[in-house]
């Protein structure tokens, strides 16, 4: 399939940012124009080259890698703007503004990569994909706290038809249930979360895709479907839980994400349940104890 570079959602913002930054590099005074300027321009081109290569590749894993390399260029550019501002080759305030724009683009690329990787994870079904999960893990810290993992999962699930019939029920408006299901992954949660309300209102937020996370819409009568989904979600729980531990997300930052706070708490609890030290002497997890 032939992809058009200009139709890549990240292409236009990246190109505009590169063109704007390119013009700024010519303001760098003296011989540094040839050194710092050339270095910055090389990284600017690097972002576009990687995006273009990613567009031209057929394998999604390779596309993730290209996006990751583009992010790496963004990181260098971010630093170079700091340097240019510190040395006042470009006025500090302006340099900070440019830097902020590049951080924004980097975040956007990270989100695109996470969506791609999670989409793949979903399609791979019960086959673990360490390389894909590694992309998910690595891309998450680059994102803003407001773009909580739950929302990213949801957006990923919203991206395509998502394999089997799990997505079929998405149209039923199972927004909240899907969010919970995606976060928890426990089969009891999957069964207990019905459609609770209308779809999310803010479609600009990545949480707009919560409705089609698909997990909660899995057919209760089809255990095969749940079995297929469980290992994938378990893997997410582990990966996302690690991320949450490393970078705790406070309730305020999740304000725009429906039920994110509750789901994040469940995510943490579920992960804690899965840890070996969470088992008692008889080998029961806290959840088992509760049931007893």
């Amino acid at each position: 399939m032939l992809h058009l570079l200009t139709e890549l959602p990240e292409w236009r913002p990246a190109l505009e940012l590169v063109i704007g930054s390119y013009a700024q590099t010519h303001r760098i005074p003296g011989r540094e124009q040839l050194r710092a300027g050339a270095m910055l321009r090389a990284h600017l081109r690097g972002v576009l080259r990687r995006l273009a290569r990613g567009c031209g590749t057929v394998h999604e894993v390779d596309r993730c890698s290209e996006l990751e390399r583009a992010e790496a260029h963004c990181a260098r550019i971010d630093y170079l703007w700091t340097l240019l501002g510190t040395l006042e080759w470009i006025p500090t305030a302006e340099a900070e503004q440019w830097r902020a724009r590049w951080i924004g683009l980097r975040r956007r690329l990270a989100e695109a990569r996470a969506r791609l990787a999670l989409g793949m994870t979903w399609r791979l079904g019960d086959r673990p994909a360490p390389v894909v999960l590694a992309h998910v893990t690595r891309s998450l810290p680059a994102m803003a706290p407001t773009n909580a993992p739950l929302a990213i999962i949801a957006a990923a699930a919203d991206d395509d038809d998502h394999a089997n019939g799990a997505a079929n029920g998405a149209a039923d408006g199972a927004a909240d249930g899907a969010a919970n299901g995606a976060a928890n992954g426990a089969d009891d949660d999957l069964r207990e979360t019905p459609s609770l309300g209308p779809p999310p209102r803010d479609t600009s937020d990545v949480s707009a895709g919560v409705a089609s996370a698909g997990v909660a819409s899995a057919d209760e009568d089809d255990p095969t479907d749940l079995e297929r989904v469980r290992p994938v979600v378990d893997a997410w729980v582990d990966e996302l839980g690690s991320w949450l531990d490393a970078a705790p997300v406070d309730a305020a930052s999740l304000a725009g994400v429906p039920h994110a706070e509750r789901s994040t708490a469940r995510l943490r609890r579920r992960r804690a349940d899965r840890r070996p030290h969470a088992q008692d002497l008889e080998g029961h997890t806290p959840r088992d104890t509760e049931h007893r």
Binding site: Q33, R45, L48, R49, A52, R53, G56, T57
Partner: protein, 122 residues
Amino acid sequence: MTARHFDLAVWDRAHRLTSALHLLSRRLPPQEFVGLGTELCAAAAAVPTHLAESVREAELAAQLRQIDEAERRAYETQGLLLLLAELPYLNRTTVSMLAAQMQRIQAMIADYKASVARGEYL
């Protein structure tokens, strides 16, 4: 069936575009002749190179790998050309025309790849 890359229409077109880009990049200002100019020429030259390598490969998987890389480099070239079109160095129409040509080459590579996948070049 052909065994020589000279006979490939896509190789020929990519080769001609590479030549044109080498000539065009001479008109870039000194600070961009080395940076953007070099990257552009390198990316463009990689397209016919990998296409030629694909013909030399004996196994289908290896052929497809070479074509994949040619395809990626074609996109890379197009990306740089789209950037160049926006910069005030060269005639925008000329550069846009070359970018459009590269897009055509991308389509030809896709067709070529489909033929190779069907085993027509083994």
